[in-house]
Amino acid sequence: MATEAEGGGLVFHPMDQFIVKPVFGDGAVGMFTFTNMALWLLLAVVCVIALMVLGTSKRATVPSRIQSVAELAYGFIYKMVEDVTGKDAVKYFPYIFTLFMFIVFSNFLALIPTSFSPTSHIAVTAVLGFGVFIAVTVLGFVKNGAGFLGLFWVASAPLALRPILAIIELISYFVRPVSHSIRLAGNIMAGHAVLKVFAGFAAITAVAPLSILGITAIFALEVLVGFIQAYVFTILTCVYLKDALHPSH
């Protein structure tokens, strides 16, 4: 346990759960050390494969439970891509769906007690966020050529103001991946830290029932947050993709 009562005082270590440690033995974390982060990232991937590949391997007309969950997830994201981005963006659906499944599974696996939450690290979410950013930017240039730069050149403003507005628009463009990744990591990290703080209060016998009730409530909220964050990440990816395909705003 991260928390214990020492000489009547409460000791909280809410952030200890986010420390990256090697799984086998201890020592420094090097470039290729197999850490708890790697383990839980791998587990998320394995779970996605189990659901999407093994779950649907029978291809039953009347789906089993697992197959219907997989079909539901597929249909949900497919419809979202179609609604938000348009019919012509459906060919980018595999990337968006992979992102969604990966995030949703890391978020839910992180809710298992004593597990590690990979999405609470900016390092992970920034890779996801900047992956989307780079993909969308490259796609924008490929589809629209140099005309994509028109996004930064506000034609409706007076000529003297345009260079300043161009800088502002450029910074605005870079705000999106940053906020995209901070939001996911921040939400997951905050939720898990709050859980640990509530758990810390359980060391006092008198407050313990209240603390357990609190943990239960926050846990329920975290389940919701885990899903909503994955959903928000995915829908914003769709929005950015739409901007890249039709840069007109």
Binding site: I168, R176, S179, N187, V239, H249
Partner: protein, 115 residues
Amino acid sequence: MSESDPKQRLKELEARIAAAKGVEKDKPHQEEHYSQAQHAWRMVIELVSGLGIGFGVGYGLDALLGTRPWLMVLFALLGFAAGINVMIRTAKELQGQKLAEMAGEDERDRHGDGS
């Protein structure tokens, strides 16, 4: 009989699916209320990260050009403007969604009264 019967049944099933879907349409509304805080978070993070990026760019350019602290101040202000810019765009997007939603609701209400 054996030919028309499955067709008939299929049609009935489709009607039932459509009816069930129509009822379920109301559900996302409830979910919206939970995720209201989400919009607030989104805007706040956009505002702050705009400021942060502007500051970072200014600081970096200052270190390169040796003009500390002028570019830092300038780019922090520009970054702040960019943050507000993104935030306003988000607000507009949300407003558009809200309006579309309300219009859809009116349409459905009128439809319900008419039939």
